[in-house]
């Protein structure tokens, strides 16, 4: 029953799940320090927080369910051949260590970000690039994201590894999500959709607001395209206006049964129990870091 509830949340997908980012009281409300005896509040959230079998009677710390969206790189690659618990544990320690030095903020595909990198060859030793995150992937220390921008009418994309020691600063100028998980179609869209000023200021957001989903529908340039967008069920593009034969062929090659394939879903994700363990491992440190940063920001010493 727990598994079904969890699988349901997986299947709903990111676009449908709204969650709060309660920046003010991260240390109080979202973390539930529960003794084993009283776990009635756990049923509110989709993932149950009951932890049977802890005989020592210690409080069991469980991370809020939003963590799997805010920090997806802590989850390892689900492919069974490449799982190694020890390696993952060591990686998590290194990731937290790096996060204590550099702030790696929460971001999603569709957020506009600015990355400052140490560049030995440039006159001022840093290089700053602003762009929209069109894709993110990887797990552990290899987690990456791609920023895209159109500079002087030339489209430029740069891949950044989040934990690269050369990265000095990652700022999120506009935190928002789009209707799709990957915005690679921006390469075939009109350039205005990928253009962001290089001197863009960070946009201020209300503290308790949800991460907004930008329902923008992008216009694509006329064909030829880099991929067959009509076959990919994109939500964030305007009507493609293609001749009917494209849609017929798309239907022929489509695999509509995949959305019912439970084993496929299982192999693509980390089981909920493991996710809980992983995030329980890291979340107290993450929260401490967040707290310290907030204090520093309030004092103005950032």
């Amino acid at each position: 029953m727990l598994r079904r509830a969890v699988l349901q949340t997986f299947r709903q997908g990111l676009a449908q799940s709204f969650f709060k980012r309660n920046a003010v009281s991260l240390s109080e409300t979202t973390v539930t320090h529960q003794p084993i005896e009283t776990s009635d509040e756990a049923d509110e959230k989709s993932v149950s927080k009951q932890k049977p079998g802890d005989e020592s009677g210690n409080t069991v710390v469980v991370a809020p369910p939003e963590f799997r969206f805010m920090y997806p790189e802590f989850l390892p690659d689900p492919a069974m051949e490449r799982r190694n618990r020890l390696k993952e544990k060591l990686e998590r320690i290194d990731m937290l260590q790096r996060r204590s030095v550099v702030e790696i903020p929460e971001f999603y595909t569709g957020s506009v970000m600015a990355v400052t990198v140490a560049d030995a060859n440039s006159p001022n030793k840093f290089a700053r690039f602003v762009g929209i995150c069109i894709q993110r992937g990887g797990s552990g220390l290899r987690a990456w994201f791609i920023l895209r921008n159109v500079v002087d009418k030339q489209g430029v994309e740069i891949l950044y590894e989040m934990y690269c020691p050369l990265i000095q600063k990652i700022e999120v100028l506009r935190l928002e999500r789009r209707l799709d998980e990957s915005l690679l179609y921006l390469r075939d869209a009109l350039p205005e959709y990928s253009t962001f000023p290089l001197d863009m200021e960070p946009e201020r957001r209300l503290n308790n607001s949800v991460v907004p989903i930008n329902p923008l529908k992008v216009k694509l340039r006329p064909r030829p395209w880099l991929e067959r967008w009509e076959r990919q069920n994109l939500q964030g593009v305007e009507d493609l206006n293609l001749p009917q034969r494209f849609y017929d062929k798309a239907e022929k090659v489509a695999k509509p049964w995949e959305k019912y394939d439970l084993m496929l879903q299982y192999r693509k994700t980390i089981p909920a129990e493991e996710q809980e363990k992983i995030f329980a491992d890291v979340h107290s440190q993450l929260q401490q870091q967040e707290f310290k940063r907030k204090i520093r920001r309030r004092r103005g010493t950032d």
Partner: protein
């Protein structure tokens, strides 16, 4: 091939499973022989070639492998002439922190390595500065002059 197979299926009166797909990999977007390139400096010959819709084609890559990347010298056929050029931006997927562009950009140079144009109007990868330190003489490309005509680095 498929028409013959469909005929065969009709003759033999049973369904022949045939696949019409070739194995495909992701496009590599490499700059090699006969790749069409985009001139991004303000040389007259480059501007005319791009305006009339006949972009220069690569006819030789000065490289051990025939694949050109950022900083390599190529020989291009442009407006009926052969000219040397330096690649300053590629569509190919690059290493982390190296920018990837939406078009394959070149800057035309003379035989002694000096660029023909006086300004590059698109951003140029700053990895060219690193290449300048290492390989300028060996490739006979005057990277200092090239970087001096660049307006923006990415």
């Amino acid at each position: 091939m498929t028409f013959q197979m469909q005929n065969l299926a009709r003759i033999l009166q049973f369904s022949v499973p045939f696949s019409r797909s070739f194995h495909q990999c992701q496009p590599l977007n490499q700059i090699q022989l006969l790749t069409r390139l985009r001139v991004v400096d303000n040389s007259t010959i480059g501007k005319e070639a791009m305006l009339e819709g006949r972009p220069p084609k690569c006819i030789h890559v000065y490289n051990k492998t025939g694949i050109g990347t950022i900083g390599d010298k190529v020989l291009v056929a442009i407006k009926g002439q052969k000219k040397k050029a330096v690649i300053v931006g590629v569509k190919q997927k690059q290493a982390p922190l190296v920018p990837k562009f939406d078009s394959n950009n070149i800057v035309l140079i003379e035989d002694n390595g000096t660029p023909i144009g006086t300004r590059i109007h698109v951003p140029v990868p700053s990895i060219l500065r690193k290449i300048l330190k290492e390989r300028s003489v060996a490739k006979q490309i005057d990277f200092t002059k090239l970087l001096s005509i660049a307006t923006k680095f990415v």
